[in-house]
């Protein structure tokens, strides 16, 4: 009970009730204190109701009576379901007051600290501080340069602006390629992805050259000194870190999803991927570079840009290329443009003597035109020659090929004919011999084939059997791979959960530290847990007692039943004989009396037990009533009654006078 009282008193103090330091239990609450506490609580719960109520009892009895009634009404309006009236406040008793105050304190609106809806977590805290800093900076008004204080210089000067400039950095961690422990999760080959530093460091086998190691140890400046300015140092490190992290994550994801399935080692997987990408690039370049009119309509502008780009790679296109592809007209166009270019330059040159220059220009023009005509005709001639040569070249090659083939064929035929001619003199015999040879050869070949088959068939069988085993193992390994994948997934989920739980734990710890320490919740929680334990134990004992009682009751029932049956049987038996024998009759009478007396005994015992129970109940009631302070309350009521009667008389007299 003390803890409950302490909590109530603490809450009431919080609401604003002036509870004295020595008052530590509800027994010590006076009526005034009770009224004040209740009124303040009601005011907090529902300001409208509580405003009309005074916090202290007025001296006059009727006024006190009225205040009590209105308070009771207010409490009922707030929602208190118990029995309440003016007597609860004026003539209070502990249990009622306790229940009322508990109800009111629970109804008090809980103050939720602002801190609870702020999600904590290091990044959120950081963001909030950044936001706060920016807010203050934005709030500072702009000051013209001449008037700037050092306070403003940091944020308003031009020089303070640094663009995000990134420089490549050299990290010496490639010296540890052989030492796998340092690269947990970062496969050695991924270093080749990072832009500059590591490619020259390691040779084919991945071990690091000693010169490079020396360089890294002695000459290479630390990372912060490598960048040209402070600002770009930070940016470069961040960029580098982000790039490596994303590359590692990318590789991780890729490997876990596709790489494991492909059953290759990481290097093989990587090389296969790069060769596939290269092939695709080749295809794309080829299809874009080849001018294909059939598909030209569908090809977007980007392809033509690509062809232009490729043309620039080719450099100055060889003139022969130009000649064969162009027609007379395009050449003419090109030449007119160049001619115009040549013509404009003399125009720009000088305006000295106009007439003179005009004539000279005309002459130049005509000579250039002549030259141009000549070149055109030469070009045409060359083009025709080339065409002619191409065609004749094709013809010659064709002829050559055909002749070669014919040669080969004729040679074969000649061989056969030669052999036949050799055999011709003795035609008949040779024919027979040949036939027998052929037949013998055929039989031998068939024989060899069957022998070979004897060898081949079991080998093929074996191969197929092993392949089956292999594919079964494949299934097995597939299953294991999927298990591995699910394990990876579980690991990921668990790490996330662990992270989240750690975050919430940290957040809760900080919240706990921030909470006020006046009401020691741990003491309460301890007591609550103790009480719960006690209650559990009591419950156990109660159940035990109940079961014992049940057992006893069962036994009693059993025995009663047995008794009845035995008596009935004995009674029958004896009664039968009693008719004849005198002693048996006496025995029967004794039996009946015995039964009667025993019954009475049992009855008496039961009555005693009942009465004892009643006594216990009554004793409990007496104790409860004693706590109610009824006697003192009664005296007070009588006194108040007398006071009210006096007041009534005084008021009546006043009314009569006035």
């Amino acid at each position: 009970m003390e803890e409950v009282d302490k909590i109530l008193i603490h809450a009431l103090r919080h609401v604003g009730t002036e509870v004295g330091e020595d008052v530590d239990s509800l027994k010590r609450f006076t009526s005034d204190l009770i009224v004040e506490a209740v009124v303040r609580c009601v005011r907090v719960i529902e300001p409208g109701l509580g405003g009309a109520l005074p916090t202290s009892l007025p001296p006059g009895m009727s006024a006190r009576f009225r205040v009590g009634m209105s308070l009771a009404q207010a409490c009922q309006d707030v929602g208190y379901k118990g029995e309440i009236g003016y007597q609860t406040f004026l003539y209070s008793n502990e249990p009622e007051i306790r229940s009322l105050l508990m109800f009111l304190v629970e109804k008090l609106p809980r103050e939720r600290a602002e801190a609870s809806d702020q999600s904590a977590g290091k990044s959120a805290v950081l963001q909030r501080s950044i936001a706060a800093a920016i807010r203050t900076q934005l709030a500072a008004s702009w000051v013209p340069p001449n008037c700037r204080l050092p306070l403003h210089c940091e944020t308003q000067n031009h020089g303070a602006l640094h663009s995000f400039h990134v420089q490549p950095l050299t990290f010496p961690h490639c010296t540890k390629t052989s030492d796998k422990k340092h690269l947990k999760g970062l496969p050695p080959c991924s270093l080749h992805f990072t832009r500059n530093a590591c490619a020259p460091c390691s040779d084919r086998t991945g071990s690091v050259l000693s010169e490079v190691q020396d360089y890294h140890r002695d000459v290479l400046p630390p990372v912060t000194a490598q960048a040209s300015s402070q600002a770009s140092a930070v940016a470069s490190i961040l960029e580098r870190h982000a790039a490596e992290l994303s590359a590692a994550q990318e590789w991780d994801n890729d490997w876990k999803s596709q790489g494991l399935l492909s059953r290759l080692t990481p290097q093989e997987y990587r090389s296969r991927k790069s060769s596939r990408l290269r092939k695709r690039i080749e295809e794309q370049l080829r299809s874009a570079a080849a001018p294909s009119p059939e598909s030209a309509f569908g090809v977007s502008r980007s392809a033509s840009e690509l062809t232009e780009l490729l043309q620039t790679f080719k450099g100055s296109a060889p003139s022969a290329h130009v000649l064969t592809k162009g027609t007379h007209f395009t050449h003419a166009q090109k030449f007119t443009f160049t001619q115009e270019g040549a013509a404009t330059s003399p125009v720009l040159a000088g305006r000295q003597s106009e007439g003179d220059a005009q004539i000279r220009q005309q002459e130049e023009l005509s000579s250039l035109q002549q030259q141009f005509q000549q070149l055109c005709s030469e070009v045409d001639q060359l083009a025709a020659d080339i065409k002619h040569l191409n065609v004749t070249n094709a013809q010659v090659l064709d002829e050559l090929k055909q002749r070669e083939l014919r040669n080969a064929e004729e040679e074969e035929k000649m061989q056969v004919k030669k052999k036949t001619a050799d055999l011709l003199p003795d035609a008949e015999n040779n024919l027979l011999k040949l036939q027998s040879l052929v037949e013998g050869g055929a039989k031998r070949v068939v024989n060899l084939a069957s022998q070979w088959e004897k060898h081949r068939a079991p080998l093929i069988e074996e191969y197929r059997r092993l392949k089956e085993i292999c594919s079964n193992k494949d299934l097995e390994s597939n299953r294991k791979l999927s298990e591995i994948k699910s394990l990876h997934e579980k690991i990921r989920v668990s790490t996330e959960e662990a992270k989240k739980k750690e975050d919430t734990y940290k957040q809760l710890v900080t919240e706990l530290e921030r909470l006020p320490k006046d009401a020691s919740r741990s003491a309460y929680t301890q007591r609550i847990l103790e009480i719960v334990g006690n209650i559990k134990k009591q419950k156990e004992e109660i159940t035990k007692i109940l079961s014992d009682t049940k057992e006893l009751q069962k036994e009693i029932n059993n025995l009663t039943g047995k008794l009845d049956r035995t008596f009935a049987v004995t009674d029958e038996l004896v009664f039968k004989d009693a008719k004849k024998d005198e002693s048996v009759r006496k025995a029967y009478k004794y039996l009946a009396a015995l039964h009667e007396n025993c019954n009475q005994l049992i009855q008496t015992i039961e009555d005693t037990g009942t009465i004892l129970r009643e006594i216990r109940d009554l004793e409990e009631q007496i104790e409860a009533e004693n706590g109610n302070k009824t006697v003192s309350n009664l005296e007070r009521i009588l006194d108040d009654y007398k006071a009210i009667r006096q007041e009534n008389a005084a008021l009546a007299a006043k009314v009569r006078e006035g």
Partner: protein, 351 residues
């Protein structure tokens, strides 16, 4: 010429696909070069990832014709753990019907006995005697299948009915020994169509330009590039982007013939071509005339053109044509161009 014919068959091989999903080359006689083995494995429909089953395909690689018959193993059979198998015959001549019949017999023998030995016996008898017993109460005789029938077995009428007057583009390309590439997603349609194209230049009777089934691999592309002019069939639609491979591209399912930029001036067509086109169409539309008659009509017209060309060469020395001599006759430019290139193709041009 039965003796030389018997040496035309080069080898026979068996490819099996078993219950593990492996496709293996299990037997060959006498031998097949590893390169050719790779090519044949690719052509055999058992290796392809798409489960299409082609009973009979043929093709041309490195001056060797190959004929692949594929069968599904059905009960009762002596073969165990085999789901499908193909019999591959390579030969020097083009005769799909002959080799289809032969390989059918060999397939049945193999499936029945489960051992290549019996099959080889049949093959050897064909090789040595030109005849073999088939289990359909008949026999297979080589001399039943002669090469002219094979050449004429395709249907020129189908080609003309699909392309109409554009058939003359194919005719021109063939006459000028240009490179024709044909695309169709189904191999059977491709084979049907391409085998009849060399018949348009009947005077040459040259089927070695025909490569009806080619894949876009370096090995095979190098092989077809060895011929100056060829007729190549592809099932891969990507080939339409490979303009370095063709002068004329035929998209068979869409029925579109395209001439590539580089060949447009060589393939320019004039009145002569119009005449030929009309002749082809008229002849093919005539229901009374059979395929071989259509080809014969066309070859007569070709002979006309060639004799005309030969007449032109008489005026020059060495019986070879020169460009100047041609120009003297003042033909229209398209016809002149065509005759010039035709002379080069027929090896009548002065070098």
């Amino acid at each position: 010429m039965t003796t030389t014919e018997a040496q035309i068959m080069l080898s026979v091989g068996i490819i099996e696909k078993d219950v593990n999903g492996d496709t293996l080359w299990v037997w060959c006689y006498p031998s097949v070069s590893p390169e050719l083995k790779q090519v044949l494995l690719r052509k055999c429909c058992l290796t392809q990832e798409v489960q299409e089953f082609h009973t009979f395909v043929f093709g041309h690689f490195s001056r060797t014709w190959f004929y692949i018959t594929t069968a599904e193993v059905q009960e009762p059979t002596a073969l165990n753990k085999v789901t499908h198998f193909s019999i591959v015959i390579t030969a020097k001549d083009f005769n799909p019907e002959k080799y289809a019949a032969l390989s059918r017999i060999l397939c049945r023998t193999y499936m029945k006995h489960g051992s290549p030995v019996k099959m080889m016996e049949a093959y050897i008898t064909v090789l040595t005697k030109g005849i073999c017993q088939s289990d359909e109460n008949g026999s297979f005789l080589i001399k039943d299948y002669d090469v002219e029938t094979a050449y004429l077995a395709g249907s020129i009428k189908d080609v003309v009915s699909q392309f109409g007057v554009e058939t003359v583009i194919l005719y021109t390309a063939l006459m000028l020994k240009k490179r024709i590439v044909i695309y169709h997603p189904r191999i059977e349609a491709l084979l049907e169509f391409t085998r009849v194209l060399p018949a348009l230049t009947w005077h040459r009777k040259d089927w070695s330009i025909l490569h009806p089934y080619v894949h876009l691999t370096d090995v095979e592309l190098d092989d077809i590039k060895k011929c100056p002019g060829y007729v190549a069939g592809f099932v891969d639609p990507v080939v339409s982007n490979r303009s370095d491979l063709f002068d004329v591209f035929v998209n068979l399912p869409d029925g579109v013939i395209t001439v590539s930029q580089g060949a447009k001036d060589a393939m320019a067509m004039g009145k002569l071509h119009k005449d030929i086109a009309q002749l082809i169409v008229k002849s093919a539309e005539d229901a009374e005339r059979s395929d071989s008659q259509v080809i014969k009509d066309l070859s007569m017209k070709t002979a006309e053109v060639l004799s005309h060309l030969a007449a032109l060469t008489e005026s020059c020395g060495n019986s070879k044509l020169t460009l100047e001599a041609l120009k003297q006759h003042h033909f229209p430019p398209a016809t002149e161009n065509f005759l010039f290139h035709l002379a080069a193709a027929e090896q009548l041009l002065q070098i």
